[in-house]
């Protein structure tokens, strides 16, 4: 199997039926992607496949053959500095326990890629697939909206 992970060419052995989540975490050491429920309800395992937010617990690794996968490890800038969104998450207190943060960041990243003219309601809708139990979402929404300016 071949695909790109955070811009790097990856080739991996084994069954194409394995969950992308497990391959990322166990074979490729990309443990920033978390398992919260294993059935596509919480969004903690969100990754981007060809720019779309997908729950990696529901994807077989065979399905990403030849495609472009981005995880939280791929969000920082090329020089290793934090992106504007990552900075905003720290500044606004959008990450508390941090376990939903990687998935939340990826979902928010896609929203901001699609449009920089977002309302609070747009952000709520865009993040509705990612559960957070710490923040009440208010600070996450503020962090995302701060990046539209």
């Amino acid at each position: 199997m071949r695909f790109t992970l955070n811009g790097r060419e990856i080739s991996c052995e084994g069954s194409g039926a394995r969950r992308l989540l497990d391959v990322l975490r166990e074979d490729l050491g990309a443990t920033g992607t978390k398992e919260g429920c294993g059935e596509g309800e919480c969004g903690a395992c969100s990754v981007l496949i060809d720019g779309q937010v997908v729950d990696s617990c529901l994807v077989a690794v065979g399905q990403v053959e030849g495609r472009d996968v981005v995880t939280v490890e791929g969000l920082a800038l090329q020089d290793g500095k934090l992106s504007q969104l990552q900075q905003a998450f720290i500044e606004y207190g959008a990450a508390q326990c941090g376990i939903c943060t990687p998935g939340m960041l990826l979902a928010a990243h896609v929203l901001l890629e699609q449009s920089r003219r977002l309302t609070a309601d747009d952000v709520r809708e865009g993040l509705a697939g990612n559960l957070c139990r710490c923040t009440g979402y208010t600070k996450i929404i503020d962090a995302v909206l701060s990046c539209t300016k």
Binding site: R25, G29, A30, T31, G32, T33, K34, E35, G36, C37, G38, E39, E41, C42, A44, T71, V72, E73, L75, A76, L82, Q86, F89, I90, E91, Y92, G93, A95, Q96, C97, G98, I99, C100, T101, P102, L105, A120, V123, R124, E125, L127, A128, G129, N130, L131, C132, R133, C134, T135, G136, Y137, T138, K139, I140, I141
Partner: protein, 703 residues
């Protein structure tokens, strides 16, 4: 150079960068070479006697490690308050709930584990289970609080009686429970896990595995939320992992999946609370007679302490000359209930706050006016006879919330009705009664030779900001930059026992110790040279008195206060309740880090919104029917209202810079405010949460 204080400034979270880059390592992220996978085999019946465990001889058992109660070297007890809960059900012993652990398996891969578990036969002789709290005959604990004398001669008085019910709730930290056990030299076992209280786990390990203080090592990994759910349960996960690792002679990872976590771990105690309140026609509060029954589930866990906090808060944030609170916790054959943010207070305050509404309605008064008349003020006496002599924020938060009250939102749908509700609550910060005195939480503080300082505590970061706030407190007391202060890892082989990370005590009690230790080190450095180290333990001031036997005296060092106003929309066709706005004013003493204080409050409020509206656990044959995240729903970003927090600073003399604990308080206020708002919208009074569409429609229909 004079460094400006960071107290009151929202500096970046210590581990913030690690959390936004994916570098933070949670338990399941850790790569442990040679580790096997563990699994817990559980009871499928709610009550019975374990007769036999048979391993199918057709399976090659050399591929797995099997642990039963016979493999426990120490006591077969989960160390907590009462020795009633076994680590694993013993042969011939009673199984008291569904999902009770019976045996443990470990194997090199998950496939072998699954295969092996299909070759085990467990024979249980069924016994008659008790599910309903009303039918329970076994009582874990009872207590009574009395102040004055409940008034029986009720002539010329209005008497309002009402019974309220609250349901189970799951903490739903997004990272499920998990621990990795690693056998080390000299019979030691190292646990790395997702947990709130390293020393709880340490004590449990010592007891069940017969280990010395040094042989039991407990390390907290980055932890993905707790909310009380990782207070006592991690002791079970850790002991199980340790038993497997000991027998396997290699590391074992025991990581729950969401389904197991939902099905087997502790929930918020459900309860039934009845109030009988007597008032004069002018609204003067004369007497409160309150009965509380909580369902503890199958084992005691922390139930007596939960009941205690429930009872102490049961009269609400009000001053009444005559109070009787009778409380008991009973046993049922359901999975044990345990710690959950608020620890009994959300249950009893839900009832207390709605009673204000019902009395106000009976008298034809505004419930806000009635609260103003009743509320505890400086110098007033609580139900336990505690005189409130400082930092009483009742009126401050009420005024602040009313001033910020949102303007009514336009309705989204023609069928929806809009309503608004308010609540006023208080919450004791720190352990109840003599808890802090008995525990004597201890921290270490070091000045290192390179000019940096190190804080040593067992207090854990679970998202609430412990790491950041401790560093702020130390840096400020020392007059150095934040970069000069580091934190030792939460590892029992390195840090003293500063107590569990629970009870809204970490910033206020342990934070104060950090502040004092840092100040002392600064003084000593005027005469001595680094490196130096000191320890500092909690010292109970003589002014705090608590009579445990009679439940009289200073139940808490101080209280935090909150007034919450919620707006709801009720869809009259579907019965769906949507919380559209939520404003909460909180007297936190002093906001050490305003963004984190707000974050705690907002998260707690939304957890309470979930409890009040959508989070329902349906029981079937003693188990939870909706034990998956597809069926147990929590609020998403779309369900959540915008939450506005107003921090009111009303300093407490013994808190660090005046700070009071606020971790649990936000769980108390939203539920009763939402039920009052539903009444405002529809005219119905619900006595039970969650306010599901079925309940709303049924109440509307019978009106």
């Amino acid at each position: 150079m004079v460094l400006s204080s960071t107290i009151g400034r929202s500096v970046p979270r210590r581990e913030g960068a690690a959390k936004v880059t994916g570098a933070a390592r949670y338990t399941d992220d850790l790569v442990i070479p040679g580790a096997w996978y563990g699994k817990t085999v559980r009871s499928t019946v709610p009550r019975g006697r374990l007769r036999s465990i048979t391993l199918d001889p057709a399976f090659d058992w050399s591929r797995v490690v099997v642990v039963t109660a016979d493999d426990i070297p120490g006591d077969n007890v989960v160390q907590l308050i009462r020795d009633d809960q076994p680590v694993l059900a013993p042969n011939g012993g009673e199984i008291r709930h569904k999902e009770e652990p019976i045996l443990l398996l470990a194997a090199a891969d998950r496939g072998t584990l699954e295969e092996a578990s299909g070759h085990i036969r467990i024979e249980i002789e069924p016994l008659r289970p008790v599910y309903a709290l009303e039918e329970a005959t076994e009582v874990f604990t009872t207590l009574e609080i009395t102040k004055g004398k409940v008034v029986e001669d009720l002539e010329d008085m209005e008497v309002v009686e009402r019974t309220f019910r609250v349901g189970l709730q799951e903490q739903l930290y997004i990272e499920p429970q998990g621990a990795i056990a690693i056998p080390e030299a000299n019979g030691a076992i190292r646990i790395i896990g997702s947990l709130q209280c390293p020393y709880y786990v340490h004590r449990a390990l010592k007891r069940a595995l017969k280990l010395s203080d040094q042989q039991a090592i407990v390390v907290q990994a980055e932890t993905g939320g707790g909310f009380g759910g990782k207070e006592e349960y991690p002791s079970i996960v850790a002991v199980h992992a340790a038993l497997l690792a000991r027998k396997a002679g290699r590391p074992v990872r025991l990581i729950y999946d969401r389904h197991e976590d939902l099905a087997a771990t502790t929930k918020r105690h459900p309860g039934v609370i009845t109030h009988r309140t007597a008032v004069k026609k002018d609204g003067t509060l004369v007497s409160q007679d309150i009965e509380i029954v909580l369902d503890g589930g199958a084992y005691c866990t922390l139930t007596p302490v939960v009941l205690s906090r429930a009872a102490i808060h049961a009269a609400g944030a009000y001053s009444c000359p005559n109070v009787r609170i009778r409380a008991r916790a009973v046993a049922t054959n359901t999975p044990p209930n345990g710690a959950f943010r608020g620890f009994g207070a959300p249950q009893s305050l839900f009832a207390a706050e709605l009673m204000v509404e019902h009395v106000a309605e009976r008298l034809g008064m505004s419930s806000v006016d009635l609260r103003r008349k009743w509320m505890l003020r400086l110098g007033d006496t609580t139900a336990t006879g505690q005189v409130l002599n400082e930092s009483v924020g009742s009126e401050l938060v009420l005024d602040a919330a009313l001033k910020a009250v949102p303007t009514a939102q336009p309705l989204n749908r023609r069928t929806a009705r809009h309503g608004r509700g308010l609540s006023l609550v208080f919450h004791g910060s720190g352990f109840t009664g003599s808890g802090e005195k008995k525990l004597q939480g201890t921290i270490g503080f070091e000045a290192l030779a390179d000019g940096t300082f190190r804080i040593l505590t067992a207090s854990t970061e679970i998202g609430q900001g412990t790491k950041t706030i401790f560093c702020q407190l130390a840096a400020d007391a020392l007059g150095v930059g934040l970069d000069k202060v580091i934190l030792a890892p939460q590892d029992t082989s390195l840090v003293p026992d500063s107590g569990p990370t629970v009870a809204s005590r970490t910033a206020m009690i342990v934070g104060r110790l950090v502040q004092e230790a840092a100040a002392e080190v600064k003084e000593r450095l005027k005469r001595e040279k680094a490196p130096l180290r000191l320890e500092k333990s909690y010292f109970q001031p003589d002014s705090i008195h608590w009579d445990e036997t009679n439940y009289r005296g200073d139940a808490y060092p101080v209280y935090a206060w909150a007034c919450t106003i919620t707006d709801v929309e009720v869809d009259m066709t579907t019965g769906e309740v949507r919380v559209t706005d939520l404003v909460t004013a909180v007297d936190c003493g002093k906001a050490l880090h305003p963004v984190m204080a707000e974050g705690q409050i907002e998260g707690g409020c939304l957890q309470a919104v979930g409890w009040a509206t959508i989070e329902e656990i349906k029981m079937k044959d003693g188990g939870y029917q909706n034990d998956r995240l597809a069926t147990y729903l929590i609020p998403t970003a779309l369900d959540a209202p915008r939450i506005r927090t107003i921090l009111v600073e009303n300093p407490y003399s013994r808190g660090p810079f005046g700070a009071k604990g606020i971790g649990e308080l936000p769980m108390d206020g939203p539920a009763p405010a939402i039920i009052a708002a539903i009444h405002d919208a529809t005219g119905i009074w619900l006595d039970e949460i969650p306010a599901t569409p079925e309940k709303v429609l049924a109440a509307c229909a019978s009106r």
